[in-house]
Subunit: 235 residues, 6 copies
C-alpha cells in the first residue's frame, strides 16, 4: 500500500526528544520492510510557534512568518530522516515533484512545508494526491474529527466515520470560531474530496497506532469516507 | 502608493493578443512613471485551461495539473514583461521573496502561480501582504462581487462595497455550488482579512479603469472593506 | 537499442489534442517495454508560434523570444510526460546532463529547448550524441529530406537515402532562401556528422510509423548515411 | 567603515526573545544610518545544540549534524532580518558571494553557517576577508580572549590586546584540552592572520557595546593586533 | 554606448598572465568610467584546448567536451572579474538573462560559454542582441575577416568592411574546409544579421585598440556592415 | 568495503595527461567491479596554482581565490569522471549530500572542493565521515606522514604507523613553519580523529598501489591509527 503519513509537529516534535522521533521512525521503517511505500509530512510544533511568535513581535507579516515556519518544519524533517536512516530520501523534499521522484526510486521522502499560505495539512493531502496514495493518515494531537472544537465545546462528539462533504461543513464551522482549530484544515479537506483520498485522522502520540492503522485499517480515530471508495486489497 | 494588480488570465490573455497585453503594460508603466510601486500577478486563461484539460485527459492528477497551469501563467508573465519593458523585473518571479526583492530594487515584478493548490487569486493576496501593499486590485472578467454567481443566479446583485467577513460568507456559499465561481477565492479572502488589505474587485477588460482605480480609488466594481481601514493619503 | 526521438511541435502538439499525445506516448511505452532506451525531445508547435509572435509584436528580441519558445516546449513536454506515465522522468529535463542521468536510471527523459539560439532539432542531435544513441529519429511534418523546400519548389525530390555531407549542402541551400525551411537545421546536421549518428527523417504524424522505424529500420522517409556506419545488431 | 559583526548564538538567540533580537537589530540599523556598511553572521545557540543533540542521539554523523546546525543558524538569521527590516538583504545569504553582492548593493546581508566542518566563527572571518572589512567584531558570550579557558582555569587572564600569532597559540592550547572552548576558533584565527583583519572580541550581551566598539574602537574586550595595522581614519 | 566585447581565449588567456588580463580589465574600466555600458564574453584558450583534448582522449563525446570547455571559460571569467574589480558583476554570468540583469543594475557582466553546441562567438552575438547593444567587438587572434583562412590560403585578403550577407558566405566557405577556422562562426554571423548588430572584428592583443574602437569606431580590423545601420550618436 | 580516495592534484593532474587519469580511473573501476563502493575527491594541482597565482596578482582575496581553486578541482573532476565512464555520477558532486546520494544509488561520486576556507584534504575526510567510509586513502605526492616536512628537514622520518593524536601534533608543528606543508591538513586530521576513520597516507603516483591498499590494507605509506579500530572484515 502507498501511504502518506502527516506527522503533526505537536505529536513528534513537541520536545525535540530523540526517543519519540526514533519510535516514529522505527514504525515507518517496519512498514517499509513489509512492502509499504511511505511518504511523510512533518509539522512545526512548539519550536515553530516560538520562532513565529518572535517574528511576529519583530513586525514580520504572515507570509514571511510562513517562511519561518517552513524552515522549522524542514529542520524537523532532518531529524526524522536521521531516525529513519538509509531508506529515507537523504534531505527534506521541498516540492511535490521531488517527493514523488524519491518515492518512485524506492526511498521514503520526508517533507515539511512547501509554500507560504499552505499548511502541512494541505501539503499532506496534496502529496497523497500527487503520489496516488491508497491512504492518508493524519497523526495529530487530537484523536479524531469532532462535531466542534473539543477544547472549547464540551458537547462536541467524535465521529467514528464522517463523509467528506460533512467534514467540509464541520471544518468551515470550526474555522469561523476565532481561536478554534480543526484537526485538518479546509484546503486539505477539499483536496481529500476532489482526489477521493481514503483518510484516517487519529491520535498520533503512539507510533504503533499509526502502524496498525496502515496495516489493518483498524484505529480509534475517525475514518473520512469518500463516495465509491473500496477497501484496499491489502486489508 | 504600493499596489498589487491581479490580472486575470481571461482578462489579459484571452487571445494572446499583443495589443491587449500592450494596453495593460502601458497603464502599468504610467502608474510607475507617476511614482507608484506596482507588482503584478497574472493568471492562466484559456491556454491554461486547454493544457490542463489535455493533462487531465491524459490521467494527470490535480496537483500535477496545477504545475501545468503554473507553467502557463509564467509564460503569460513573460509576455507582460516584454510589454512593460525595461522597468520590469526581467523574468517571472517564482517566489514571494523574489517579488519583494525586485520591488525593493525599484522594478515591477510579474508573478504567475507559485505552488500547487494555490490559485493566482491567493498568490495576489499573499504578494500584497508580503510587500505591505496599500492596495490590491483584482482585475477580473466579472465586474465585482455579487451576492451569488451571476452566471447562474439572475437575482444575484453586485455589491458596491462589502465587508470582508461578509465576503467570506458569500464566497463560501458560491463555492458550495458545483460549477459556480467567485471572483476571488476563499484563501485569497482569508489573507485579505488577516492582512487588512484594502481591496478592489473590478472588470479588468479596460486597462484605464484599473489605472483610474489605483490613482483615485474611483471605479465601478466592489470595494472590500476591512475594519479600521483609512483612506490612502494619496487619494 | 538506445534511441532519441525528436517529436516536432507541429506533429504532436498541433492541436493540444490528448488523443494525439496519448498515441505517441503509447508508442514510446511499447518501445520501452520491448527493451529500448528512449529519450524524447519535443518542439513548440502552433502555441509556441502564437506566443513568439505576440512577444515579437511587444518588442522582444529574438533571444528573449527563444526563452518564450523554450517555455512552451517544456509545457508540451509536461503533457507528453503525463501521457507516458510512470516510466517517464517526472518533469522536463532542462540540460543534456539531466537527460543523460535519467536515461542511466532507466527513465524516459523528455526535453524541450535547452538554451536560446539553439533549435529543438539541434537539441535532439546533441542529446543523441550525449547519450551515445544508436539511432536518432526526426518525426517531422515533412516526410523526409528533399532536394529543395517542397513547399516552394515543385521539382524538389525526396531522398530515400542521403549522405550527411550532401545533407549539409542541401540544408545550406534551403536556408539561403528566405522563408524556406529544411526538416533538420544546419547545426543539427553538423552534430549528426561529427557524431556519426544514424538518423532517420520521417513523417511523424503516425506514431506507429515511428515505432516501426525504431524496431526494424523500415520507414518511408529518408535515411541519413554516415561513413562507416554499421547496421544495428538488433535489426 | 565596513564591518562584519559575528553575533554568537548564545548572545542573541539564547531565548528566541524578540526584545533581544530587536535591540541588536536597532544597533545595527543605527550604524547603517550613520554610513557604516554592515554584514552580520549569526550563530546557532541553544536551539542548535538541542537539535544537534537529538540528531546525534538518532545516529547522525558530525557532517550531517553540521547541516542541522546550519539550518538553525539560517532560521536565526531570518529573525534578525525581520528585526533589521527593509535595509536587510531579505533572506539569509548562503554563500560569501551572495553576501558580498548584497553589501555592494547597499543592503545588510545576514549569514548563518555556509558549509559543514566550518563554524560561524570561521564564516565571520571569511566574510570579513571577502568583503574587505575594516573591522571584524566577535560579539560572544565571553568578554574577550583569555590566556586559558576561564570556565575551567581560574588563573586565566583576559588580554586587553593580543597579537594574532599569540592568539593562534592560545587557541591551539585551549583546543587541546577536551571540553574547553575558545571565543574564536583556530580556522577563524588563521583567516584573521592571513587577511590582516582588525578584530575585536567582546561580550556581546549589550548591543550598545558592539555599537560603541564599531563607532569609536573603544570596548572592554580584547583587541587582536595584526602587524602593520593602522587606525581606521574614521576613529 | 552599450557594447559587448568578445574577448578571445587566445587573446586574453593564452598564458594565464595577470598583466595581460589586467591590461584588458583596465581598458574596460576606463570605458565604464566614461559612461559606456560594457558586457564581456571570454573564451577558453589554450587551457580549454588542453582539457578538451584530454577529455576526448578519455572517450568523452563532443557535448560533454563542450561542458568542459564552458567550465574553463567561466574560470577565465573569474580572473577577468578580479581584474575589473568592484564594478564587475561578482561572478561569471551563466545565462543571457543574468547578464542582462547585471547590466541593468549598472554592473559589468562577464560570461563564458552558456550551453553545449554554442561557441562563445555565438554567445557574444546573442548577448549583444539580448541587451540591445550598439556595438559588438570581436577581439580575436586574427586581425579581421579575410576572404579565406589566412593560415592556409596565402591569397586570402582582409576586408576593411564586409556586408553581413557576404560574411555569411565567406564563413560558410571557410567552415567547409576541414581544419580552417573563421574569426566568427556561422551561428554568430546569423545572429548579427538577424539582429542588425554593428560589429567590428579586430586583433585583440592590444587592449587599447579595443578601447579606441569602442570610443571612436576607428580600428585596423573589419567592419561588418548591416543594412540601414546608422552611425552611433556618440562617435 | 566503502572507501573514499583523496586524489591529490599533483598526483593525478600534474600534466592534464589523459593516460595518467585513465590509469587512476581504471583502478577505481576495478575496485567497483569487485564490489567496493568508492567516492573520490580530487585536488587542483598545477593548473589551480597557476590560476590562483594570477588571481592573487590581480588583487583577489584568499576567499575568492578559494572559489577559483574550487572551480579548477571541479574541472579536474570532470576529466576523472570521463575516465571512469558510466559507473561515475555524471557530473562533479558539489555537496556532501549529493555525493552521499550518488553512492547510495550505486554510482561513484567525484568531488572537488566544496566551500572556501576548506581544503580538499578536509573535504575528503568529511566525505568519508558523511558516507560512513571503512577506509580513507590519501593518495598524495608525499609517500606518507613524516616527523617533519621532508622537503626542508633532512632528519624527518616517515611513520609506518601513527596515532591520530600524534598526527595532530606533527601537523600543528609543520603548519607553524612557514612554507612547510603536511600531507594532510589540520582540519582533515581533526575530522579523522572525531570520526575514528581508518586512514592511509601513501604515494599516489602509482594507481595500482592505491588499489592494493584498498584491497589488502598493504602499502608503503603511513597507517593512521585511531583508538579501538578493528581490521575490516574484508581484509
Amino acid at each position: 500500500m502507498r501511504v502518506v503519513i502527516s506527522l503533526g509537529g505537536s505529536v513528534a516534535f513537541a520536545e525535540v526528544d530523540p526517543s519519540v522521533i526514533e519510535a516514529h521512525a522505527t514504525a515507518i521503517g517496519r512498514l517499509v520492510d513489509d512492502g509499504h511505500e511511505v511518504a511523510v509530512v512533518v509539522g512545526g510544533g512548539p519550536i515553530a510557534r516560538e520562532y513565529i511568535a518572535a517574528g511576529r513581535a519583530l513586525g514580520a507579516d504572515e507570509v514571511r512568518l510562513d517562511e519561518v515556519g517552513i524552515a522549522v518544519t524542514r529542520l524537523n524533517a532532518r531529524l526524522l530522516i536521521e531516525g529513519i536512516g538509509n531508506i529515507a530520501h537523504p534531505w527534506p523534499a521541498t516540492t511535490y515533484a521531488e517527493a514523488g521522484q524519491a518515492l518512485r526510486q524506492g526511498d521514503v521522502p520526508v517533507l515539511g512545508g512547501v509554500a507560504p499560505a499552505q499548511t502541512t495539512d494541505a501539503v499532506s493531502a496534496a502529496t497523497a494526491e500527487y503520489v496516488g496514495a491508497d491512504l492518508l493518515v493524519y497523526a495529530t494531537s487530537i484523536d479524531g474529527v469532532y462535531s466542534g472544537d473539543p477544547a472549547s465545546d464540551p458537547t462536541a462528539e467524535r465521529f467514528d466515520q464522517i463523509d467528506v462533504s460533512r467534514l467540509l461543513e464541520v471544518i468551515a464551522d470550526i474555522e469561523m470560531s476565532a481561536g478554534s482549530q480543526s484537526p485538518v484544515d479546509l484546503l486539505a479537506a477539499k483536496i481529500i474530496q476532489r482526489a477521493g483520498l481514503r483518510t484516517i485522522v487519529l491520535d498520533g502520540s503512539d507510533p504503533s497506532a499509526i502502524e496498525t492503522a496502515v496495516r489493518t485499517g483498524s484505529h480509534d480515530g475517525t475514518d473520512v469516507v469518500v463516495d465509491g471508495m473500496q477497501e484496499p486489497a491489502e486489508w
